[in-house]
């Protein structure tokens, strides 16, 4: 899905070659400051690399319309962002942003079940806890049904039990739809359990890549 060749970004990223396969779950692991978040920001084109080339579906990423690309390669940031309004508004805003038709109430409640969030659609989203906000932004991305999902530490605020439930459901659904999933995680457990491919980022500027197929989905 993504191929990186000699990619450099400031002193943070220096990747010689990297493949991120389509329709697989790729986990990006490594210590803090290793460039994990920067790498996925490059994939979502929130930033552009200084040197080298990134290919998406074999096309150089800089030749693609960044907005169209982000509608296909949806990313959610490490710190969940909640927009003004209700739970429903927050679910629908991704579809609004990407110009897709809005979902019906049933679809919205289903996606809340998928992320194990027991909230009413009409509830204001502002007072939700950190973990609830994280699940709400996961649900928002799932609803958009893009080609590629990029999640930055999607379950960092969840307890182990909820993390497992949510990840089982989310990864299961993405796999069922045969989409590509990229997860940045510091949790070895998440990487071990869900990853088809593990990429390890190390030592700030230098990124060492380790590929290993853990299991097939």
């Amino acid at each position: 899905m993504f191929i990186l060749k000699n990619v450099q970004y400031k002193a943070i990223i220096a990747v010689d070659e990297l493949h991120i396969p389509a329709q697989k779950t790729t986990c990006i692991v490594g210590e803090s400051g290793g460039g994990k978040s920067t790498l996925i920001r490059l994939l979502n084109q929130l930033i552009s690399c200084d040197k080298g080339e990134i290919f998406y579906k074999n096309q150089p990423i800089h030749t693609l319309d960044p907005i169209q690309l982000r509608r296909e390669v949806v990313m959610i940031p490490q710190a969940p962002v909640i927009f003004d309004g209700t739970v429903k508004d927050n679910l629908l805003i991704g579809l609004t942003f990407s110009g897709k038709p809005l979902a019906g109430e049933n679809e919205l409640t289903d996606v809340l079940t998928t992320v194990c969030l027991e909230k009413e659609l009409a509830e204001p989203a502002g007072p939700l806890s950190g973990g609830e906000q994280q699940r709400l932004s996961l649900a928002r991305a799932l609803l958009m049904n893009p080609e590629v999902y990029i999640f930055d530490e999607p379950t960092s605020a969840l307890d182990e039990e909820t993390e497992k439930k949510v990840m089982d459901n989310v990864v299961g659904e993405v796999k069922r739809k045969r989409k590509t999933l990229i997860i940045v995680t510091h949790s070895k457990k998440v990487a071990q359990t869900y990853a088809d491919v593990v990429i390890e980022m190390k030592n700030g500027s230098a990124a060492t890549v380790k590929k290993g197929v853990k299991k097939n989905g």
Partner: protein, 263 residues
Amino acid sequence: MDEAIELGLWQMAAAYIFIVILYIILKAKGIPRDKELVISTFRMTVQLVLVGYILAYLIENNHVMWIILVIIIMQFFAVQNIVKRVKYPIHARLKRIIVISMVTGTLSSIFYFIIVVVQVTPWYEARYFIPIAGMMIGNSMTGVALGVQRLVAGVQEQKAQIEAALMLGATPKMAVKNIVNQAFDAAILPTINSMVGMGIVFLPGMMTGQILAGLSPITAIQYQVAIMLGIVGCVSLTVVMFVHFGYQAFFTERAQLCSGQKE
């Protein structure tokens, strides 16, 4: 109509008593603002005396070139003032947008007002053109300065939210919609509010001046209403242009958020 009473040297001197009293109070209370008071009073006096002579000259020797020069100087200082008033450093792209919106927004309003509303002939009649242009440019300057401040602050404070919207495929316009609306609101609100108190809380400067100069209050009010409407139009047009183009300065051509400030 009676001519206005001309103030003689002693009468002018008597007015400065207010400053002397304030100076004594500041000194007595130990409030360290005495220097600013003296400098401000001095600057105000010198600037106004100079402007008085310049205006007298311009009105006597009315020429289109003088008026163009006046417009250029006014615009230059207005833009300088906007940049200075905003607490954040502003990068060249945003500055260009400020200049473009100030120049096109104010000039089109001024010319509409001079030619269509007041119907001054020739249009460059200094007695009309300079005060009207001054009021419109001055108010637009305040509006745009507030708008710039709100826009830059909004983008700084809501960076995470803007980026989260971009990550979901929002266009830059969608991602900053709320901030742009708030900036427009902040810029336009003082002008709209100023209309509410007019005539009750205070008598506007231009009207007061015309009444003092011996003009009938009815005529003075006609002018005041017209100029107030002109100011609202001029400020709105300038601010609309600024916010419409201004947000774009915060994004690269790859629709990535940049700070909008000096790198």
